[in-house]
């Protein structure tokens, strides 16, 4: 597995150890990109900061909380316009964003007074919300404001409110991943075990590392409820503050994004003896395996099997419609962290695409181990790429589409490579069986959009054909398909609705007898 030095990075030779090509017969023990290191001076990283990782990725998806940044107002930039971690309480956490608006005078004279004033004002402005998280930023960290002391003062003066403090300034790590780590550890140290929940089922889980991107959490929660499982907390998408204080009472931690949340699962295992089960919510086969395992853990595998049969029967013909049309298309899988391994194998097997490159902006070497293991030979794996490396890779690999964030995605568009937003999605949710078909539909729409027929022409030098009619998606995608596939009465395009979440609002779930109740029924018989 040879290391790969991009031509554009020859002047930064340290970059060589950050990229490898997966060669035939080679293993992870032969070469592994370096990862989770400080960005090398001279390279323009696409990473976020440790504050961003703590606040904008992990903290803010909690839905019933005032999320306040103790710093300049610009630190709160990421909200409804860039983030799509929605919630079922009218998106309070996205609609309102709070900052103490630190200025030069606060840097000189301290900002603790203005912090306290802001906290009280915010609670008074939203009397229905009595939970708050406060995030340290670079500015407040450097001047040494004691946020914990101010939070304690307010909690004493305002009984009934609860405040969590996260000290993860922007410079507190090589990337946003440093912030993921800090907030995981801070939450378990400060808050887990401080609230006693109502337990309503014999089967209780924490759903960890799930951020409800365009409703993913609500889709997965639906499966769990159909199995009679109580989701005590979700860390953190669509999750509640007090639910997350109750994590110590779950029977099982079901971990989705290990990159951002394995720390709290590991600590819950050590401190409370709650085991950690890693799952995949993406892809028919991985999701089915995950539901089966959770069902088996609780001895209710039949409930999982019923859901799997129903969902696969409903959605598989639609997934396969897209698979037939996407076969062999080249994909660069360039997400932030966990999706490189969640998707690398199942998009190849279930959508038929070829993953020619994987990269991670803030992943660790463990993420590369998973991603490289799950992709096919010949793929180029890159850690913390810069913009020029991304361009060079796209020119060399000629992908049909890339899955990445909006910043590198817009760069790809400039060289006429379509992209899908791997962080916030295009038309999600993408988890669950229907979600996976929606993802396939977005991939199809991206690759076969007729706009590329025009955008690939350069009017300054190419001849513009005026003897051809307009090409539709179907004309483009079906050109090499057999009549059998084209005319199949089994395969069909996506038939789901625009809003897949509405169905969950008033849904009535089956009631299962509790274990003791079931035992009594058996004895009576």
């Amino acid at each position: 597995m040879p290391y790969h030095l991009f031509k554009c990075s020859e002047c930064i030779p340290e970059r060589e150890k950050h990229a490898v090509i997966k060669g035939p017969g080679e293993t992870l023990a032969d070469a592994l990109p370096l990862g989770y290191l400080n960005t090398i001076p001279g390279t323009i990283s696409e990473r976020g900061c440790a504050y961003c990782g703590a606040k904008h990725v992990i903290g803010t998806p909690m839905k019933d909380v005032i999320h306040m940044s103790h710093g300049p107002v610009g630190c709160t930039y990421d909200t409804w316009q860039t983030k799509r971690y929605i919630s079922d309480n009218d998106n309070f956490q996205l609609k309102y964003t709070f900052a103490t608006d630190m200025k030069e005078s606060h840097i000189v004279f301290g900002a603790e007074k203005i912090l306290k004033k802001n906290i009280i004002e915010a609670f008074k402005a939203f009397p229905d919300i009595n939970r708050m998280t406060i995030y340290q930023t670079c500015a407040s960290a450097l001047i040494g404001d004691d946020i914990n002391a101010i939070a304690a003062e307010v909690m004493e003066e305002m009984p009934g409110v609860d405040i969590f403090v996260c000290n993860s300034p922007g410079f507190g790590g090589p990337s946003q991943s440093g912030g993921h780590h800090k907030i995981n550890i801070a939450w378990i140290n400060q808050k887990v075990g401080t609230f006693e929940p109502e337990i309503t089922s014999d089967y209780v889980i924490n759903y960890v590392g799930e951020y409800n991107i365009q409703g993913d959490q609500e889709v997965m929660q639906d499966f769990f409820k159909r199995m009679g499982i109580q989701v005590l907390s979700t860390f953190t998408g669509n999750g509640t503050y007090d639910g997350l204080r109750s994590m110590h009472r779950a029977h099982l931690n079901v971990l989705e994004c290990a990159r951002s949340a394995e720390y709290i699962c590991n600590e819950l295992r050590v401190r409370y003896g709650i085991p950690r089960l890693d799952i995949d919510g993406f892809g028919f086969e991985p999701l089915s395996a995950s539901l089966r395992k959770i069902g088996m853990f609780f001895g209710i595998q039949d409930r999982a099997e019923a859901i799997i049969s129903e969902e696969v029967e409903r959605w598989k013909p639609e997934l396969d419609w897209y698979k037939e049309r996407l076969k062999g298309k080249k994909v660069c899988l360039w997400p932030g962290g966990s999706k490189l391994w969640h998707w690398a194998n199942c998009i190849h097997e279930e959508m038929g695409v070829e993953v020619v490159s994987v990269y991670t902006k803030f992943g660790h070497q463990g993420d590369m181990e998973k991603g490289i293991s799950r992709c096919e030979e010949g793929a180029l794996a890159i850690d913390d790429p810069n913009e020029l490396e991304g361009l060079e890779a796209m020119e060399e690999l000629q992908p049909d589409i890339i899955f990445t964030g909006k910043r590198p995605g817009e760069v790809a568009k400039k060289i006429r490579v379509p992209y899908l937003n791997a962080h916030a999605y295009h038309n999600g949710p993408w988890k669950g069986y229907e979600g996976w078909v929606r993802f396939a539909r977005d991939v199809y729409n991206g690759i076969f959009s007729p706009i590329h027929e025009l955008s690939l022409l350069d009017i300054s030098k190419d001849e513009i054909p005026d003897d051809k009619g307009f090409m539709t998606q179907r004309l483009l995608s079906d050109v090499n398909l057999s009549d059998e596939v084209k005319n199949s009465t089994v395969l069909r395009e996506y038939t789901g609705g625009y809003d897949v979440l509405r169905q969950f609002k008033d849904k009535v779930y089956p009631e299962f007898p509790g274990k003791s109740e079931a035992d009594m029924q058996v004895s009576a018989i």
């Binding site: 592994l32 089960l277 853990f297």
Partner: protein, 117 residues
């Protein structure tokens, strides 16, 4: 069983784990050792029709990953059901050694020995 065939079989099983499973990738060496040891042992016990410990939450969690693995092996690799149990144990032992090498002793992942989570 010939050494070459044993290794070939172990590699097939390994490839499935690396592409389809996540349990082997815990972030610290001691966790990887624990996971590999328990899940591979239970998988072998299931494939060899031996009793499997499954009575605590911790053991159950290993068990569900092992049960999925054993079931998948039987479906994907017909030779698993046909193989002599003594040979199957050897294949599983070879698989375990290979997994430990790739992900622990021979791993290039510098975070494995970090003493904290």
């Amino acid at each position: 069983m010939e050494e070459a065939l044993l290794k070939e079989r172990a590699e097939e099983l390994l490839d499935f784990i690396m592409k389809k499973c996540l349990w082997q990738f815990h972030s610290r060496a001691w966790d990887r050792e624990r996971q590999n040891e328990n899940i591979i042992r239970k998988t072998m016990q299931l494939l060899c029709d031996e009793p499997v410990e499954n009575d605590t939450p911790e053991q159950k969690c290993y068990y569900v990953d092992a049960a999925y693995l054993a079931e998948s092996y039987k479906k994907r690799f017909p030779w698993v059901a046909e193989m002599d149990k003594a040979d199957l144990r050897k294949v599983m032992q070879s698989l375990k050694e290979r997994l430990d090498y790739l992900l622990i002793t021979g791993s290039l992942n510098a975070e494995l020995t970090d003493p904290l989570y």
